[in-house]
């Protein structure tokens, strides 16, 4: 076989591999959405699950997932964004900066089950909250913090220098410059990162088994006082999320329509994550266009 034939064969193989990869994704998504999509009805999305009878829904689980998402993203951004600003604007090479970078790397490589166990020790047992939304939110914060810090830092670093210098030249302080000039420019990039992180939060289960728990009390929608134990907004109640629910219905195996609930919940999960993913892409494209066409 001469070099040219070898080259052609290799090219064909590369195309084949690529097509295989795309087919794999297409097959996976197609299967999940086709099998689960049939079961997604308004009733399925809003009614509470059943324990032994058929016909349960995923209402509370869906609510828990969304609420947990908002809680944990709020905490993550509250800590991660300032840490990102610090690394991008104030950090001088030295021990502190090194330690922060090392910590972020360590955190980002931790298996989520280990984070869940840490959450069990600290956020569940030590604080005395028991299995709760708050414990789950904090465990998810640990998982997403590295991503948000990194994304914020990169977004801030990518803001053109002359903008900063212009602001400083006009007599603004560094703090005012960051806040009034740099942040608005970096905002879309940070938002993209937040959306991607949100997708991860929505599908995470291993870290939540022993923090947010595997049960959900009956929620009285309409009770919006967060201090009330069966208010959906109470951050100290156990909250089973959609991803954990898939795991649990399979583990208990009591309901006769296990396949329906599992398939349906998996489809909802994938569609939501897909939505986040596409949203982040669309946003990224818009930013790109704005920056290059400006």
């Amino acid at each position: 076989m001469n070099a040219r034939t070898a080259d052609r064969v290799a090219t064909a193989l590369f195309w084949l591999g690529a097509i295989l990869l795309v087919a794999l994704l297409g097959g996976l998504l197609g299967y999940i959405v086709y099998h689960g999509g049939r079961h997604i009805t308004w009733d399925f999305l809003t009614s509470p699950p059943e324990t032994i009878r058929a016909g349960g829904g995923i209402g509370p689980q869906l609510f828990n997932s969304l609420y947990l998402l908002i809680l944990s993203m709020a905490i993550t951004v509250l800590i991660g964004l300032p840490a990102g600003i610090f690394l991008a604007e104030y950090a001088r090479p030295g021990l502190v900066t090194e330690a922060v970078r090392f910590s972020i790397e360590t955190l980002s490589s931790l298996p989520s089950i280990v984070v869940g166990l840490f959450g069990l020790l600290v956020f569940v047992v030590l604080t005395g909250w028991g299995y709760s939304l708050m414990a789950g939110a904090l465990a998810l914060t640990v998982i997403n913090l590295p991503l948000i810090v990194r994304v914020s830092e990169e977004a801030i670093r990518s803001v053109p220098h002359d903008l900063r210098e212009g602001s400083l030249a006009l007599g603004a302080s560094q703090w005012q410059t960051i806040w009034k000039v740099v942040m608005p420019c970096a905002f879309p990039g940070i938002l993209t990162g937040v959306i991607i992180a949100a997708g991860r939060v929505f599908g995470e289960a291993a870290a939540l088994l022993y923090t947010a728990g595997m049960s959900s009390p009956r929620l009285h929608f309409g009770l919006w006082n967060p201090a009330h134990p069966s208010s959906p907004l109470n951050p100290f109640r156990p909250a089973e999320t959609l991803a954990v629910h898939i795991w649990k219905v399979n583990a208990e195996g009591l309901i006769p329509d296990l396949r329906r609930v599992g398939d349906g919940a998996a489809a909802v999960l994938v569609l939501v994550v897909l939505g986040f993913n596409l949203g982040a892409r669309w946003l990224g494209r818009r930013i790109h266009r704005r920056l290059t066409a400006a």
Binding site: A3, A6, D7, A10, T11, L13, F14, W15, G17, A18, L21, V22, L25, L28, I32, I79, P82, A83, F86, L87, E89, A91, V96, V100, F102, S103, I104, T106, L107, S109, L110, P111, S112, I113, V114, L117, F118, L121, V122, V142, E165, L168, Q174, W175, R200, F202, G203, A205, A206, A243, W247, N250, R259, G262, D263, V270, V273, L274, F276, N277
Partner: protein, 296 residues
């Protein structure tokens, strides 16, 4: 650009506090998991050698029958087996995808392949487990034999899960190569395949290996997707169709049944500590690979 003499203003303190929190968090994770995980050896006086090398597992055996035994070898080997096999399957596919996206058809790669792999990475692990359970396990049972719950099902599910990691890191390191490498190879009359095989892949080798190690780390720490399809049998597997068990699935399954502070519970924490050490080890490995660069 940076104004000198800003010193320790209050806003800098605030930002520093948040950055410090990240450090505190990391240190406390390491401290907490280590304290719990070392109790097996310090409080229960189990020798680390027994935990790492013995296959005897009877964590609740009463003293009159010879006392408890906590040999973790089947769990450790199971974890190693599923993750190594997963990476062996995923590496050729992920790497060829990366070469395709960077060298063979960049437009196609940008438009189709890259987004597709990002989507794969976005699919939650429980969904992978659910798909493995409802589609792959019956398929294995009917076409290969055995129970379906097997090492095979485990590493196949994992290989799809680590594909995006291997693809992304390899593609990045191929993109980072200086363009004159490629141009020089073409100028000497090489075909594209020769250039890829003799020049580009060797030049990007350390980045590719880092990607593989990262994939291995991800596979090693994955819990639920694996637990749902491997059958959880505490035995050292002799064939691909044997059910196996892993560190993560032992933790997931036994945690609820054990009492905080008992030996059995402590051993589960030791497994968590082992996972933590492994993930730190993987980071160090990647750093070393990056530092030694091409000389590997």
């Amino acid at each position: 650009m940076r104004r000198s003499g800003s010193g320790l203003s209050w806003e800098r303190g605030l930002l520093l506090a948040c950055a410090g929190l990240v450090i505190v968090l990391t240190v406390s994770i390491i401290v907490f998991i280590s304290t719990k995980g070392l109790a097996t050896f310090l409080v229960n006086r189990v020798s680390p050698a027994e935990f790492l090398l013995s296959t005897e597992w009877a964590p609740d055996r009463p003293a009159e029958q010879g006392g408890p035994r906590v040999g973790g070898l089947p769990y450790i080997l199971g974890s190693v087996a599923v993750s190594v096999l997963a990476v062996m399957v995923a590496t050729p596919l992920g790497l060829s995808g990366a070469v395709f996206a960077v060298e063979v058809a960049p437009r196609w790669g940008q438009r189709v392949l890259q987004p597709a792999l990002e989507m794969l990475a976005g699919i939650p692990s429980v969904v992978y487990g659910w798909m493995g359970l409802t589609v792959l396990v019956p398929f294995v049972r009917e076409h290969a034999g055995g129970l379906g719950f097997s090492l095979l099902a485990g590493f196949l599910v994992l290989s799809v899960m680590v594909l995006p990691t291997i693809f992304t890191v390899s593609a990045d390191s191929l993109r980072a190569l200086p363009p004159d490498l490629k141009e020089a190879a073409y100028a000497l009359g090489s075909t594209r395949w020769q250039t890829i095989r003799r020049v580009l892949l060797p030049a990007a080798r350390s980045g590719i290996i880092a990607g593989v190690v990262l994939g291995l780390a991800r596979a090693f720490g994955e819990a639920l997707a694996v637990q749902m399809v491997i059958g959880n049998t505490r035995k050292i597997p002799t064939s691909l169709l044997d059910p196996v068990t892993t560190l993560t699935s032992a933790i997931t399954m036994d945690m609820p049944y054990t009492v905080m502070g008992s030996l059995w519970n402590n051993v589960l924490w030791s497994m968590a500590l082992l996972l933590l050490l492994m993930s730190c080890g993987f980071i160090v490995a990647i750093k070393l690979i990056a530092r030694r660069g091409v000389k590997l």
